[in-house]
């Protein structure tokens, strides 16, 4: 079953807003895409259209949080994290404010618009900020969990969302926990540690490896920061190597986070991700996944090289 992440996000944000009157939303002329439009429709007084002005939006969100509101500030990932980086650092993270930043249409998912709209750097830039929590959900269920968790955390949170219909991997019983890895498939020889959209693709890669007689464990990391290092070390225990899988540059994102976490007791690693490049336009998403080497075959090949 496929569910659109943006739709799931909007549904949960609305449900949250109904329960908690402190929740407010801001957007920079993309509320239809990001789905913050659900707040504008249902609680117009709690929606703030900031025009195409992301920097102002983030500092305004900081101010709102100082009045006890829980602001969710939205744009495409590239604009939500990139344009106002200084505002996120200075207005929000340094004073530890309760601001939620939602980066929509992340990675390659805005395939037509090309490099300016495709965000491969946001996990890295958001992750380097002390105090920031970074979620990168893999499906609709986890997206909803991330919305709830973001509201429960008293501090800055970045949620990275893909714009597509994605397979549902989890259910209400999935024991999500901030910072904890989730073993989604058991296996003994190699660990595929994935985040966001790449978790479903890593599952397929594990299937492919199985046909070649290789047993792959799939571990989903829906939180890029904070990361429970001990739990991660435990999750990869016993395998001979790790392949990290992310729809993001290999510099500074999931792969780096895993390498940093395990550097005291390292395992051989390979990183599947964007190889230090910018994006480009294409007629469909899958074409770009192939072009940038983010397929199950790429993951399986990386795993085979480790063994």
């Amino acid at each position: 079953m496929l569910i659109n992440l943006r739709t799931a996000y909007g549904e949960e944000l609305l449900a949250l807003a109904k329960e908690n009157s402190r929740v407010v939303a801001l957007d920079a002329d993309l509320c239809g895409s990001t789905q913050s439009v659900v707040i504008e429709k249902n609680f117009p007084e709690r929606y703030f259209e900031m025009g195409i002005g992301e920097q102002n939006m983030i500092s305004v969100a900081a101010g709102l949080s100082l009045t006890g509101k829980i602001p969710f500030a939205h744009s495409f990932a590239v604009f939500a994290s990139g344009r106002p980086f200084d505002q996120i650092r200075q207005s929000v993270c340094l004073p530890k404010l309760n601001v939620k930043i939602v980066g929509s249409s992340c990675g390659l998912s805005d395939f037509g618009d090309g490099a300016t709209h495709q965000s491969f750097e946001d996990l890295a830039t958001m992750r380097v900020l002390p105090g920031m929590t970074v979620f990168c959900p893999a499906d609709a269920v986890e997206t909803k969990w991330a919305v709830r968790q973001a509201a429960a955390i008293d501090g800055p949170v970045y949620i990275r969302l893909n714009r597509n219909d994605l397979p549902v991997l989890f259910d209400e019983k999935t024991p999500f926990e901030t910072g904890k890895p989730l073993v989604v498939k058991e296996g003994s020889q190699v660990a595929l540690v994935a985040t966001g959209t790449m978790t479903a693709i890593a599952m397929e890669a594990a299937g492919l490896l199985e046909t070649k007689g290789i047993s792959a464990r799939v571990i989903h990391l829906g939180t890029i920061k904070p990361l429970d290092t001990a739990a991660l070390a435990k999750a990869v225990n016993g395998v001979r190597g790790i392949v990290t899988c992310e729809e993001h540059t290999i510099y500074g994102g999931l792969g780096s986070a895993v390498a940093e976490a395990l550097c005291a007791a390292p395992l051989p690693m390979r990183m599947v991700g964007i190889q230090d490049r910018y994006g480009q336009s294409a007629v469909c998403y899958d074409e770009l996944l192939v072009h940038y080497g983010l397929t199950k075959e790429n993951i399986a090949a990386a795993a085979e090289k480790l063994l």
Binding site: L30, G112, G114, T116, H117, Q280
Partner: protein, 273 residues
Amino acid sequence: MNPERIAELKEKARAVRLGIIEALGLEKRGHLGGSMSCADIVAALYFYKMRHDPKDRFMPDRDRFIMSKGHSVLAQYAALAEAGYFPKETLKKTKTLGCILQGHPERETPGVEANTGSLGQGLSIGIGMALGGRLDGLGYHTWVILGDGELAEGQVWEAVTAASAFKLDNLTAIVDMNGIQAVGKTCDRYDLGDIRGKFSAFGWKTFEIDGHDMTQIVRALDEASEVKGVPTAIIARTVKGKGVSFAENTHAYHNNLLTKEQQEQAVREILAM
């Protein structure tokens, strides 16, 4: 300006509009509305006002053009193809993998001077070009097209004050004031008030025109390039989607797909304009 020349320019504008439809193609989402609203201005710049030569792309004193609202680049691609910077055939391949015509302007494309697409940065890039030209004693003029929604970006107003401070009379900002941004009407979503008054207050010489009236466009471009001592802004009242009835005055075709029938209708209507 004699009527024949105006008629010729109107034909160029028609070619630009047809080129936009060609580049948009089928089964590809694209920014029809904002490309159509600036088509007449883009045609006047490339086929009347600007000094440029597709056979000598890097001549130092060429006039510079920046599509600050980079999503409207389809209009620029169509003009560049019409001017001979690359074969018209290439338009069809816009936004396909590996094509020189990307979703937003990139310098790899012959004739494109600056990368834009993240709104609000083009006028600042234009200031740099204008400063560089002045430093080198080159007489070129820099023309920057901005969207009215784009004017919400704070950087635009940093640029507006900078151009004034540097007295850049070799720089013109053209605001494609179609009154609509991505999600709705600019006045409903985020009201910028009196745009012309704002530029004037910051020390710019301003002109307000009908951005689809070729005679007015040509006159404003001429007058703007003659002004001395201050930067100039042309506030062009336009219609988003101009020329394609179902896309006019709506945000529905800000970034959208065309069906085969819609494509045919668009071509018919543009030919009848």
